[in-house]
Symmetry: C2
Subunit: 192 residues, 2 copies
């Protein structure tokens, strides 16, 4: 089999841990012991970029290139800063699924989604163990994890963020209208 | 332009709201006013499935088919049950990016990711406004949002969940090793 057939993309929020470099090296070693080649988001050189946005896009493009070159992914879907998977990892699961590459996943949380979400709701406010402490907070001035924000921009889309919280967070449709108007304008320009 | 060129996939966690049907109908109307066709996750018929897992996969496959048939997506990335985007929506952003379809996004949360995450950490425990109340909790007995869990299975992968929480949630690698072993076994079978 070719080199690409052995490549496994390592997805997960451990890139934000203070010892991420060592942890990813260990994961690559574990892959190597099984005859596989672990590919880490840290393998891409993104230093020397001019500003946060350029850095975010360099990381995004690097991760996409890495995924494209891998035949598999292993995703750490352990809940991160909430009741669910890290959103960058969720993006990557979706991306690899679209490419038809098998994704293997694991979670350190034994409670299934519904159970832990109900528990969180009943113990209101929800205690998110992983928010505090020494886990890095990605700070590119973006609306969410860079894989989401950059994916939107890179594909020709745009992210609209409220100037102030709407009265009804889930039912205010002014920003949805803005998206629709952008798409209509793009189509009118023949830009799609 | 063809019908497909006008189709917009509507992604977001409002499918869990008690008035989701009405809200999605309104979103489709807004698309229609702009000459676009809004496609909702609720457009797929998934009734009559035998059991939670079959229902989850039917929804997953329906959403993938809907996305494949759309030229655009509009994603509601407002933080949901944590500091980030709903993971099903994140999966869909990644999926559409892989297909090369422009994604437009909006968020009702004015604070950018780093700022709101630091605020959440400093006010520990994090108050997740959207966990409680009348927003439905997806309950298919899965490890996370069905788009993640089903994406893994459907692509030939597998999800490993801890029997009990490991001592170090982010550094225990036993489940990662299980994923690696599965990939090695799959390759040995020539199953990739």
């Amino acid at each position: 089999m070719s080199e690409a057939d052995r490549r496994v993309y390592i997805a997960g929020p451990e890139v934000f841990l203070p010892d991420a470099t060592e942890l990813l090296a260990t994961k690559k070693s574990i892959c190597g012991e099984a005859g596989l080649v672990g590919v880490s988001p840290f393998d891409n050189e993104v230093s020397g970029m001019d500003g946060a946005e350029a850095t975010a896009f360099a990381i995004y493009r690097g991760n996409l290139a890495s995924m494209s070159g891998c035949s598999f992914a292993i995703a750490n879907i352990t809940p991160f800063r909430g009741v669910s998977i890290d959103p960058g990892t969720a993006f990557e699961v979706g991306y690899m699924c679209a490419l038809g590459r098998p994704v293997f996943a694991y979670s350190a949380e034994p409670l299934e989604y519904a159970a832990r979400t109900r528990r969180a709701a009943s113990s209101e406010p929800l205690v998110v163990r992983d928010t505090a402490g020494d886990i890095a907070v990605e700070d590119f001035g973006l609306a969410d994890n860079l894989m989401i924000a950059c994916g939107v921009e890179e594909g020709g889309g745009r992210t609209f963020v409220a100037d102030e919280p709407p009265a009804d967070r889930w039912r205010d449709l002014s920003l949805f209208r803005a998206c629709v108007a952008e798409i209509a304008a793009m189509r009118a320009r023949g830009g799609d």
